[in-house]
């Protein structure tokens, strides 16, 4: 599913964000990526959807060596990956339905398929009844669920989430986790960078801890392991 071999990332300003990472993540796994701010978590996961390219090493996602992927092929590669951010990144002028449909419209999916899939994912995140509302009319947790719906509407095999509960209160965070659990139960791989100690310690999954750009701990059913 995801294989990283001897991966390094040095930014043009000289900062070494990733300093030799070897890791393998199987299809269907749920992985927490933990570590303090500036440890290299973001770069680590950005490299998985080729937002960043490593300066050295090999990254294979879904059988494709994305370090050798041509820029023109990146869009098609991304269609099999869903990405969720801390700040939701919803378009304020579009309704809930339109925000989710947007992801399919811009890859030129047919209107019939768009309607069917959007309603189905809105049902999954329990927001079908708010389809006509605008993001500003929703709570933070609901907005994040819209962004998850958008990430999974194209049925990706991998969902990458960068601190998805970072802006949410505990109650909403648990609701988000319920959605991720459900997606994961359907066979989708989830890689989630998080600072949320309660969640990591409560809902046990594999934990990859990053410090100084390298993996310092990799445990199945691990603990958060940092003082917050």
């Amino acid at each position: 599913m995801i294989v990283m071999e001897n991966v390094y990332k040095k930014y043009p300003n000289g900062v070494v964000a990733v300093n030799g990472i070897d890791v393998e993540i199987e299809q269907g796994e749920f992985v927490y990526v933990v570590g303090q701010s500036g440890a290299g978590k973001s770069t680590f996961i950005k490299m998985m959807y080729r937002e960043e390219k490593p300066t050295e090493g090999k990254i294979i996602v879904n059988g494709v060596d994305i370090t050798k992927l041509k820029n023109s092929k990146v869009p098609l590669f991304r269609r099999n990956i869903g990405v969720v951010f801390q700040d939701f990144k919803l378009l304020p002028k579009l309704t809930v339905y339109e925000n989710v449909a947007f992801a399919l419209e811009v890859i030129e999916e047919s209107p019939r398929i768009i309607k069917k899939r959007v309603m189905s994912v809105l049902d999954l995140v329990n927001l079908k009844h708010k389809a006509r509302m605008f993001p500003t009319e929703l709570s933070g947790g609901e907005q994040q669920r819209v962004s998850i719906a958008r990430a999974i509407v194209n049925s990706p095999s991998l969902v990458i989430a960068d601190e998805p509960t970072g802006n949410l209160d505990p109650e909403n965070s648990w609701e988000i986790m319920r959605v991720f659990e459900e997606i994961n139960a359907r066979g989708t791989t989830i890689v989630m960078a998080t600072h949320n100690k309660e969640i990591v310690n409560e809902i046990k999954h594999r934990v990859i801890a990053i410090e100084g750009g390298t993996i310092v701990r990799d445990e199945q059913r691990g603990e958060y392991g940092y003082e917050v």
């Binding site: 023109s72 869009p75 590669f77 990144k89 194209n154």
Partner: protein
């Protein structure tokens, strides 16, 4: 990956074309004054291009038709008597390559001049009492290329006051055209850059306004072409809109100016280029230039500000 390749090659769907067109029009209206400034810059540029082009092409055509003219006008000294004139006529007729020699008295010359000025020629009638013009011989060469040689030979004959022929005059005209063309090109180039710069700035505003949308499109796997199209179209519209006013103005202007000038030059061999096809060709050229300016402007912004 082969499945991916097939998807990339899918022909753009009608739905997508409609979407891009909608997006580009939305931005045109949203950008308000920047749109007006861009269209205005294109308008001014193309108007100048059009006017310069129309003038230069007409001057060129006039110069070319004069150049092809085989007639030489020999002005006879006013002091020459009838016999001397006859002798001169015979001398000219004996030259190689001369096809015909026609006598035109100074009265004929004045009448022709009065006629060529049309209504304004009335004032010249005052000269009928004391005609300052010379008697003349109109010499026709059998071949255009021998005109110069014949004219030079005649110049050496006695009682010849002056020799005029088309080619000598056209040299000056061609010089004027050359200078005008250089000034025009410099001016137009400057304006072209201004127009392109303004368009690229307008597109930059659109890109900034839609940066969130673009980010999401990239994330969910919209192709670069898909992301770029609305911006190309916006640039294209700005160029096309900018060419409408110049095309209309030039068409109207050309019609009126040629209607005004033509009666005055009707009896000479000088002719303006016909409205059709000249104005249609010029309009096509301006429209094409508008499109090119628009697309270059948007290309610059898209390349610089759209990391796709």
């Amino acid at each position: 990956m082969s499945e991916m390749n097939n998807e990339v090659n899918t022909v753009m769907k009608y739905r997508t074309v409609g979407r891009h067109a909608r997006e580009s029009f939305k931005s045109i209206f949203r950008n308000g004054w920047m749109t007006v400034a861009s269209v205005g810059a294109v308008t001014v540029t193309l108007l100048l291009v059009g006017v310069f082009y129309a003038i230069l092409m007409n001057l060129n055509s006039v110069a070319t038709s004069i150049e092809k003219d085989v007639s030489i006008k020999v002005l006879v000294e006013t002091t020459a008597d009838e016999n001397q004139q006859k002798a001169l006529e015979q001398q000219i007729k004996d030259l190689d390559g001369v096809e015909s020699v026609t006598y035109s008295s100074k009265e004929d010359e004045l009448n022709a001049l009065i006629e060529s000025f049309g209504e304004d020629g009335e004032v010249l009638k005052l000269y009928e009492q004391d005609n300052p013009l010379n008697d003349a011989f109109i010499v026709k060469a059998s071949k255009p290329e021998s005109t110069g040689k014949i004219a030079a030979a005649i110049q050496k004959f006695e009682h010849v006051f002056d020799v005029n022929y088309g080619q000598a005059q056209t040299e000056k005209l061609f010089d004027v055209i050359k200078v005008a063309r250089t000034i025009g090109i410099v001016l137009i180039l400057g304006l072209l850059f201004t127009a392109i710069f303004l368009i690229s700035n307008t597109i930059k505003i659109t890109i900034n306004a839609r940066s969130e949308e673009i980010e999401i499109m990239r994330l969910v796997g919209a192709t670069n072409g898909f992301i770029r199209w609305p911006f190309f179209l916006e640039g294209l519209w700005l160029g096309v809109f900018g060419s409408i006013i110049p095309i209309s103005i030039i068409a109207i202007l050309y019609k009126n100016v040629s209607n005004f000038i033509e009666p005055h030059i009707g009896n000479t061999f000088i002719q303006l280029l016909d409205f059709s096809p000249f104005v249609y060709q010029l309009s096509g050229l301006l429209l094409l230039m508008g499109c090119v300016i628009g697309v270059i402007g948007s290309l610059m912004s898209v390349r610089k500000f759209l990391k796709v």
